[in-house]
Subunit: 161 residues, 2 copies
DNA sequence: TATTGTTATACTCTATAACTATA
DNA sequence: TATAGTTATAGAGTATAACAATA
């Protein structure tokens, strides 16, 4: 929706797209913003061979050593099966490791390796630059408000089948 | 991230996930909100056999009769090839039709059928209820601010490369 | 019985290259 | 040559059922 209203050189038959807000669909604006963030972030993370989802998993493991996969999946709000391949990928690259919990031999304690912590810190710096770029010109109060709104939306999740 | 901090009955080995904001990653909060919206909306649209993306295309065609596919793709911020299957689906269900433009026989003028307009209006009502539910308790000013922030993020899209 | 991690699978959304028919 | 729509395809995210090992 870069061109908000009518273009001068369109033939009569072609309509102009009504500007901005789709009626009754705030969700689509959030989708568009998210797509921009995701593709820009993935470009930023490419040199580290990380994606948004693997970066998120790595940073949570670095910041919360000993996390179980089920806890991490809940924290990331993804399904357990989908986390497995992410953990596999990080483990194969020796960025994290799966330690068996003696107290519960079904579960793993996830821990970052030194290499994982180092890569994470470098990636964090790049991501900070990415966010500065993408959030440039946005009033910090407005941004805080927006993030609070995102949390409220998440909290209003509809759980009944 | 429903449980913000430590759970009382966890064994010592298990760490608690640090609450809320992932350091330097506003994007992930937006992702989570979007996922909630998308899955709730798709559930809402299921009785109409629509999804977020087909609903969006339909409403834009209803509101902008004569739209070309390329214009619609740009308005929805998706790639032209991905729009084709969406238009196919709506056309197969006789909700819209592709009219050849006499002035440019490469292009189509997209128009909603009566059935399409009727389904659209019913879906709009359901979506309004969905958004009321999901945005319940959110200050309208805060919501407006959040939507403006989403637009600004979209406008800061990184285009080089 | 219930839970942790796993496998397999299916569906959706996104992105790109290459084609056709028109301009 | 450029553009509108199309085909084919690949990649990534998400969701569910069912299983083995363990609780």
């Amino acid at each position: 929706m870069k061109k908000p209203l009518s273009e001068p050189d369109l033939p009569m038959e072609a309509a102009s797209v009504s500007d901005g807000t789709l009626r009754s669909l705030h969700g689509y604006q959030i989708k568009r913003a998210f797509n921009v963030i995701q593709s820009d972030l993935n470009r930023t993370l490419k040199p580290f061979k990380l994606r948004m989802i693997t970066y998120t998993a790595l940073i949570l493991i670095v910041d919360n050593p000993g996390l179980r996969q089920s806890q991490l999946a809940e924290a990331m709000d993804i399904e357990r099966p989908n986390l497995v391949v992410i953990i596999d990928e990080l483990e194969r690259r020796d960025l994290i490791l799966r330690d068996r919990l003696p107290s519960d031999r079904r579960a793993y304690a996830l821990k970052a390796t030194l290499a994982g912590r180092r890569l994470c810190e470098k990636a964090v710096a790049a991501v900070q630059a990415h966010e500065e770029r993408l959030l440039k010109g946005i009033n910090p109060d407005a941004l805080r408000t927006a993030m609070k709104v995102m949390q409220l939306i998440e909290a209003n999740r509809h759980r009944e089948t």
